[in-house]
């Protein structure tokens, strides 16, 4: 499908609903959202003010859905949204917005700004104003199955290695399992320990699980780029596999945007509720903790802080589980000032980490300074998180700033200290 301005404008008209109309009608240009956005706080550039990133959508709203705007358009006083404008906004909508949603928490008139950025991306995608990196990740996910172009034989190989390392069976395409386990390519490639950790925990809990050979990928680049039709295609694979295998639960991996895609956007993309329950891995772990299954043989001693991934915590609603779980395994957990739903993004969510232009990478490194300050003011050498994408972004930033902070995955940390 070729992208055109016409399609983009149509998409923007389509996404505008009462909340968006209400939000634009309420904005008083106070600029407080800028203080909540790491791309603004770390650069001081007013262009990165969250509400400003929505200008193309606001313009379409004004010109199409308000009496005054229509009159202005009629007499030629309104500036239309054109390709040049959308092109100029591309870096604001993708490079400098990770859909982290911190801005939505501070707006005094209550505007859910990130809700609107997500919708604006529909118009950007339909008009072809998207970063190459996210576009190719989306294409690979639709055509091959995952954003990194990973095919099943490679995944099967990783699973086999995890079986060897743990001595536990990882069932594939097994009907009737308690959980269908989804993975993100980044975990499969960079953090296969996660898979071993899961196998151990499931074994310990006496729960059955399976991996599907045609729906192992949980991430959804279609959502990040803003193409709902592609996002639907991607999520449908999981729905079909889960329903065919008749599993009760689908287990979202740590990856935040994957959780958003399957748990919150999924049913809305396919237009009906699921016949299974979507559970984030931390929700499952916390349930096991409460049941007393998650007993530790020993604890992690080094002082550490937690990095709460936006899409799981602030945007996903898994609010309390992470802290409960870290307290289960760590002796010296230090809560940071802006924690839980107030946490600062790693700087690379929402598809941003797939953009590899020099400008985007430099901006990401700059935005990371807020996280760097959090680590330094806590005075710790260890940070724990639970999102493969955050981990990659943070590790890149550690390299950039030559920091020797250790970064650990929460699920793996728990599995490592799990009682045998």
């Amino acid at each position: 499908m070729s992208a055109t301005l016409e399609k983009g404008l149509h998409a923007l008209r389509e996404v505008i609903d009462a909340p968006i109309a209400s939000y634009f009608s309420s904005c008083v240009h106070c600029g407080l959202c800028a203080d909540a956005c790491l791309f603004h706080t770390e650069t001081g550039d007013p262009r990165y003010t969250p509400i400003y990133k929505l200008e193309p959508l606001r313009r379409v709203y004004e010109q199409e859905y308000t009496l005054l705007g229509r009159v202005k358009k009629l007499v030629g006083l309104a500036k239309p949204v054109d390709d040049a404008m959308l092109d100029a906004w591309q870096d604001l909508v993708y490079d400098s917005c990770t859909l982290c949603g911190r801005c939505s928490l501070v707006c005094p008139v209550g505007n859910d700004i990130v809700y609107m950025v997500r919708k604006l991306r529909e118009g950007m995608a339909a008009s072809g104003h998207t970063p190459d990196g996210i576009r190719s990740a989306t294409r690979r996910t639709v055509e091959i199955g995952g954003p990194m172009g990973l095919k099943w034989p490679a995944v099967a190989n990783v699973l086999r290695k995890a079986e060897e390392a743990t001595g536990l069976k990882i069932p594939v395409d097994q009907p009737g399992a308690d959980y269908l386990v989804l993975l993100s390519s980044m975990e499969i490639v960079n953090y296969p320990e996660y898979i071993e950790a899961l196998a151990k925990i499931f074994h310990k809990a006496g729960l059955t699980f399976t991996v599907s050979s045609d729906a192992f990928e949980a991430t959804n680049a279609g959502i990040q780029i803003g193409a709902s039709d592609l996002a639907r295609t991607i999520v449908t694979r999981i729905v079909e596999a889960a329903e065919r295998l008749q599993v009760k639960h689908v287990l979202s991996p740590e990856c935040g945007h994957a959780y958003m895609a399957i748990r919150w956007e999924g049913p809305n993309l396919i237009g009906r509720p699921f016949r299974f329950e979507v559970v984030h891995v931390l929700e499952l772990l916390d349930e096991l903790r409460r049941k007393g299954v998650l007993k530790m043989k020993d604890t992690f001693k080094d002082p550490l802080i937690l990095h709460d991934p936006c899409q799981i915590v602030r945007r996903g609603g898994v609010l309390e589980a992470p802290e409960q779980l870290i307290r289960q395994v760590a002796d010296n957990y230090i809560p940071v000032v802006d924690q839980q739903k107030w946490n600062w993004c790693c700087g690379g969510g929402g598809g941003a980490s797939a953009i590899h232009t020099e400008e985007a990478e430099a901006l990401r490194a700059k935005a990371f300074q807020v996280k760097k300050r959090q680590i330094e003011s806590a005075g710790v050498d260890t940070m724990v998180t639970f999102c493969a994408n955050c981990r990659i972004v943070i590790e890149e930033a550690f390299d950039h700033y030559q920091m020797d902070t250790k970064l650990l995955g929460l699920t793996e940390l728990l599995a490592e200290h799990l009682e045998n």
């Binding site: 909340p19 240009h29 707006c107 209550g110």
Partner: protein, 219 residues
């Protein structure tokens, strides 16, 4: 037209016109905004204490953690000017008389010396936030004609009202006429400018609270 004729027009046809535009404008804009509706969220909801539309309507009246420090002028100035404006508009005895003549509703007012002081504070706060809009890079960058215009039409009724009461600059009759006319301008433009936030902010906060409460996040 002399001052008295102007005052008579402002109190009679002028007021009817302004109120007419205000009421029809508000109704029209509300329909324009809220008739767009929204799709039902098909994902199963998560419950969390404190997460609801209503809670967000209330919660957003106070600065979130860390924000007061980040932008003290916006919050302190904003509070003083909004509260001051509400006190002056609704608790000044002559205003209550006007509202009574229009709606039949009435309530006790505040002493006029107190209102006087509040009006001065309100104007000072408005001048401070205007200076902030000019000085602060983000605010200056975001500002459009609509922002300056909204400031002027909000400031004028306070200024002229205070000057009329104080018998400053112009004869009382003329200043009162200007005060009423400026208030009528404010009423007439409210539905079509950012001043409409006075009404839609409740809807916006509620939507935001509700959409996020569905995911179990108190926002």
């Amino acid at each position: 037209m002399d001052a008295l004729q102007l005052l008579t027009w402002a109190r009679g046809p002028g007021l009817d016109l302004a109120l007419g535009i205000f009421v029809l404008g508000v109704v029209w804009r509300l329909i324009e905004v809220y008739s767009l509706g929204r799709k039902r969220d098909l994902a199963p909801a998560r419950q969390h204490p404190g997460a609801s539309g209503l809670r967000t309507v209330l919660r957003r009246s106070l600065p979130p953690p860390g924000m007061l420090k980040a932008s003290p002028v916006s919050y302190v100035g904003g509070f003083v000017f909004h509260i001051g404006l509400a006190l002056v508009v609704f608790l000044f005895a002559p205003h209550i008389l006007l509202i009574k003549s229009l709606t039949g509703l009435s309530w006790p007012g505040l002493p006029s010396q107190f209102i006087d002081m509040v009006a001065v504070l309100t104007m000072m706060a408005m001048l401070v936030i205007l200076a902030d809009r000019i000085n602060k890079p983000v605010k200056r960058f975001l500002s459009t004609f609509g922002d300056w215009f909204a400031w002027v039409v909000t400031f004028l009724p306070v200024l002229t009202g205070w000057m009329a009461v104080q018998h400053l600059l112009l004869p009382y009759t003329l200043m009162l006429a200007l005060h009423i006319l400026s208030a009528e301008l404010l009423l007439a433009v409210l539905p079509f400018t950012k001043l409409f936030h006075a009404i839609t902010l409740f809807g916006s906060r509620w939507y935001s609270g509700r959409i996020n409460a569905h995911k179990g996040v108190p926002v």
